[in-house]
Amino acid sequence: MKTTSDFPSINERVPEGLSTEGRPLRVLIVDDSMFVTKQISQILSSEGFDIVGTAGDGAEGVEKYKELYPDVDLVTMDITMPRMDGVTALEKIIEFDKEANVVMVSALGKQDLVKKSLMLGAKNYIVKPLDRKKVLERVISAIK
């Protein structure tokens, strides 16, 4: 029995976190702040994205990306982090996979670094404070 045809749907909207084939999009979150990681992860999970990994600094982020590849669709990348900053990590990820979808996450006043990231191949950026609408808009425009 196909339940989908037997019951009327009250919510026709497809969650934003699914690929065109209906598979959850896989996200790696790179951020040194547990609070921001949690915020991004809650917003994206609620739209059906699958958080496949998190990393606490740039170096760990690059490592995790290589481990996950090719089973990762998107990276959110903080700019200010210990050990390796987000711009350097972005560079290394693009070096490894020039098709990588990376969205930068930054505090206000980092315009130069954001610009540099976009030139290096970042697909979009989000300026903190984060809110649901802003995060989803930027992430979706980066992958679709």
């Binding site: 951020d31 040194d32 702040s33 547990m34 609070f35 921001v36 915020q39 903080d78 200010t80 982090m81 505090a107 206000l108 903190k128 404070p129």
Partner: protein
């Protein structure tokens, strides 16, 4: 004021601050204040209305607020900007949401207002018909006071 109203707020604040700042938090002696008291400089205020009514303040100095927001975001923030305010608001949201869940489980029914952030120097708060219980929390970033003035609804 019955102490059972303040405990959920103090417990939530204690565990959430410890979690999001990943630091040790000490809990100082609870004290009672009647009528007017000073506010430290940055206060997140949440109102309650229902079986119980009143307000909760999460109160700290500007310096502490900036340090707390810096740690929470992993950024070095230097002024009381939008990000600091949004972060302290979110902290207040997390604390009150968890506390309210506990109070609802105890059988109290009430609604909350969204947190508002009030900033300034030499501010005071006056609660004319209800006394306030204050629990100072000590952390490396400075002092955060959980200041609760709640009573059972009159005539309820």
């Amino acid at each position: 004021m019955r102490v059972e109203y303040i405990n959920p707020f103090v417990e939530s604040a204690f565990s959430i601050i410890k979690e999001v700042l990943q630091t040790d938090v000490s809990r100082d002696e609870l004290y009672l204040k009647k009528s007017t008291q000073p506010v430290l400089g940055v206060a997140a205020i949440v109102g309650l209305a229902g079986d119980v009514e009143g307000r909760v303040l999460i109160d700290m100095s500007q310096e502490t607020a900036i340090k707390v927001a810096s740690t929470m975001n992993g950024e070095e923030l230097t002024s009381m900007d939008e990000l600091v305010k949004a972060t302290i608001t979110e902290l207040a949201n997390m604390v009150t949401a968890q506390a309210v869940t506990k109070l609802h489980e105890l059988g109290f029914k009430f609604d909350l207002t969204p947190p508002a952030i009030i900033t300034g120097e030499n501010m005071q708060v006056s609660d004319i018909n209800v006394e306030a219980l204050i629990v100072p929390l000590g952390l490396p970033h400075g002092k955060i006071e959980i200041n609760v003035a709640i009573r059972e609804r009159l005539g309820a």
